[in-house]
């Protein structure tokens, strides 16, 4: 085959350009650390990469949900425990009052103590964390338990819900309504926690032992209910914590997958860039005039 001057020159130029392109791409991969920089870098994997990125975003969102609600749930659990403690103290005070030998002054003191504890129960039921009332249902911005007598509930009966897995909903709050433990009385009307506390206070102040005994029974029931609510919240916290750990594991796996898909194997990439560079230098050398001989060099 005849080798012609123009053709050989064009081929050298084409090879040098190709080498530059290859070198540039290899350097790009090293400096960006990304194996897939655009869809055509690996069309077979791009859809999976986008899916992996979306999965990572989704799992991060779920983890954020767990992180957002766990403090509320823990605060709820603690508040429920403290409410139960206050109710238990009231119960002890009522037991003290339920004694024939007690003086009217002592009854008055006991009554005041019951009142203070009742106020504390109301305060606890109005617990707020980052501007949000815990026991107000979804009416999170209004104080759920009003002052005065009777204490009325302004929240609603819808618990706050969180979604920790696709399509699954978990109640993460106890509504004030549930806290009140409203129940029908055998005879007439209904009663709830605060009504019972008021009734006990009145009975303690007046020394009506029959009413105190009735109040104690009601308080026992309320206490039992509060402890059940607290236990239930504790179980839910554990569930959310377990979910969070699982989400964390899934997230790690998803991020690993994403990294496998899009990140460059740096050692290999550097080696590749080095090889491309050497090859490019060799091509430049081959094209240099020093290495091209011509008949012209030998003719006078």
């Amino acid at each position: 085959m005849r080798v012609t001057t123009l053709q050989s020159l064009q081929r050298r130029i084409a090879e040098i350009l190709q080498g530059q392109e290859r070198l540039e791409a290899a350097r790009d991969r090293v400096s960006s650390g990304r194996r897939i920089q655009r869809p055509s870098d690996s069309p077979a994997e791009i859809a999976e990469l986008l899916r992996a990125r979306t999965l990572v975003a989704d799992l991060e969102q779920r983890r954020a949900t767990a992180d957002a609600f766990l403090p509320h749930m823990r605060a709820s659990e603690m508040a429920l425990g403290e409410i139960a403690g206050a109710v238990r103290e009231i119960r002890i005070l009522a037991l003290q009052a339920n004694n024939g030998t007690i003086s009217p002054e002592q009854r008055l003191t006991l009554g005041e103590q019951v009142q203070r504890l009742r106020d504390r129960v109301r305060d606890l039921a109005n617990t707020r964390i980052s501007g949000r009332y815990l026991f107000a249902g979804t009416n999170t911005l209004t104080e759920p338990f009003t002052a005065g007598e009777p204490i009325s509930y302004t929240g609603n009966t819808a618990p706050i819900q969180a979604s920790l897995f696709d399509g699954g909903l978990l109640d993460v709050s106890v509504t004030g309504d549930a806290l009140l433990n409203r129940r029908d009385l055998a005879g007439s009307g209904s009663t709830d926690l605060f009504q019972n506390l008021f009734a006990v206070e009145t009975a303690v102040r007046s020394g009506d032992n029959k009413q105190i005994a009735a109040g104690l029974t009601a308080l026992d029931e309320d206490l039992h209910h509060l402890l059940r609510l607290r236990g239930d919240m504790g179980a839910r916290i554990q569930y959310v914590e377990a979910m969070r750990r699982r989400i964390e594991e899934d997230l790690l796996a998803a991020k690993q997958r994403q990294s496998d898909l899009e990140d460059v194997d740096l050692a290999a990439a550097i080696l590749e860039a080095g090889t491309a560079e050497t090859a490019h230098e060799a091509r430049l050398l081959a094209a240099s005039p020093r290495h091209r001989t011509s008949l012209l060099d030998y003719l006078r």
């Binding site: 085959m1 055509s40 791009i46 979306t54 975003a57 954020a64 911005l141």
Partner: protein, 451 residues
């Protein structure tokens, strides 16, 4: 003895000078693309009158020397057809690669600026809103990411529109070039016919015409025939664009189709080449991408709107449409929600209910089919880009081989020409010496006769 020897020697001098000129032409055109090497075809010239006979009575012809019969154009015509096909394919692949790359750049996947990441930010913002529906910051963040999403869709469709506009302009420019080239081919064909009729060898004109035809094929994928026999026919999808010296100009009609002769002339389909690829993107591929993006956008917007309407804002009013489409078909977030984030219907109207926001965030998984369609679109564009890049490399490699084969036939090798020059120089010197010898002989003769 006659003066005949002097004529022989002078003819030899002329012939070698002519051959040297041809070598010079080759050397001068060493870097001219499309130049076909020429060779001096010399032939021995018969002597004039047959004066001497050999013993058998046959005429002894001492000969009249040498002359250059013609400058032969060494052109590998049999490679032209393959080269033309490859050139059309390479042109097509080059446009495919360029446009696919532009679309890829527009999509900007997989980066934070891509639609996928924008969608993820949107869904995450609504997930956070579902966690804190009573937080005004979460509300305005949700509307902000929604605005970002609407803008991203707008950028994508606008980018595709601009790309189409660019291609339309390129079509117009390319048509101008094609019409110029066909006109030149026609003019050259006439000049070639006239030169050949006059007995000349119009090698340079043939080279020029071949160059122009190659360009025509690269741009349109036209098929060319008759380069050897003289009447060149360039046909484009069954329609003769050039036939000998008559040429049909192409026009871009107002409806975007290509017409022959006049804007209302017969329709012309471009079979391939650069223009063929441009037409393919312009009429088929890009509108397809655009409508698929719009379908995804409208699907998402209507899903979000439907959900949003089921909720109530913080004033207790039912949700307004979340996304609006303006008269130009652009998506935007309802300005009501932007000016007052409390109007966002995140739930049932109570401050802490985020059911609607949660449902919107849940579209990420619930509506995966629509989003998978987008991922498929990205993958498809990726396949398109990488496939056209591969095709370009392959056809260019094949084209290079063919061109090497063509060049090996018709290209200029400087060393060869130099060697030729040396040999011609020697021959010229020898012829001159011959002339001098005859001169001496004659001088001797004349002097002796005179003495």
């Amino acid at each position: 003895m006659s003066f005949f020897g002097i004529r022989l020697a002078s003819r030899a001098l002329q012939a070698h000078q002519r051959a040297l000129e041809i070598a010079g032409q080759n050397i001068a055109n060493v870097n001219t693309p499309g130049y076909s090497r020429q060779t001096a075809v010399t032939r021995a010239v018969a002597g004039p009158a047959l004066t001497t006979l050999d013993r058998a009575g046959n005429p002894l012809a001492p000969g009249g020397g040498v002359d250059v019969a013609l400058a032969l154009r060494t052109h590998a015509a049999w490679l032209d057809r393959t080269a033309a096909t490859l050139r059309a394919q390479a042109g097509e692949a080059a446009v495919d690669e360029r446009v696919a790359h532009q679309v890829e750049r527009l999509l900007a996947e997989p980066t934070e600026g891509g639609l996928q990441a924008t969608l993820d930010r949107f869904f995450t913002a609504f997930g956070n809103l579902a966690n804190r529906p009573d937080d005004t910051a979460a509300r305005s963040h949700a509307t902000r990411t929604a605005t970002e999403l609407a803008l991203r869709f707008q950028q994508l469709t606008r980018g595709l529109d601009m790309l189409r506009q660019e291609l339309r302009e390129q079509t117009q420019q390319m048509l101008t070039v094609i019409n110029q080239v066909t006109a030149q081919v026609g003019a050259l064909s006439r000049a070639i016919r006239q030169a050949q009729a006059a007995g000349a060898s119009p090698n340079e004109l043939l080279d020029q015409r071949d160059q122009l035809l190659a360009e025509l094929v690269r741009r349109t994928g036209a098929s060319v025939s008759g380069q050897e026999s003289g009447e060149v026919v360039v046909s484009l999808g069954g329609m003769a664009l050039v036939q000998g010296e008559s040429v049909v100009p192409l026009q871009l009609a107002s409806d975007g189709s290509l017409r022959a002769l006049a804007p209302d002339g017969p329709k012309v389909e471009i079979p391939g080449g650069e223009l063929g690829a441009i037409r393919k993107w312009l009429d088929g591929v890009l509108p397809g991408y655009r409508s698929r993006l719009l379908a995804l956008r409208d699907h998402l917007a209507s899903a979000v709107n439907t959900l949003h309407r089921t909720g109530k804002d913080l004033y207790g009013a039912l949700g307004e449409p979340f996304f609006l489409t303006d008269s130009e078909g652009n998506l935007s977030v309802n300005p009501l929600l932007l000016s007052d984030p409390r109007r966002l219907a995140a739930g049932d109207g109570s401050a802490g209910d985020g059911n609607v926001a949660r449902a919107i965030a849940g579209l990420r998984n619930a509506d995966d089919a629509a989003l998978a369609a987008y991922r498929a679109l990205v993958a498809e564009i990726g396949v398109h880009a990488s496939e056209s890049r591969r095709r370009l490399t392959q056809t260019e490699a094949a084209l290079q081989q063919i061109q090497a084969a063509q060049a090996s036939e018709s290209g200029v090798n400087l060393d060869e020409e130099l060697a030729q020059m040396v040999s011609l120089q020697h021959a010229y010197a020898a012829s001159a010496r011959l002339l001098a010898t005859y001169d001496e002989l004659l001088t001797t003769l004349i002097e002796r006769m005179g003495g």
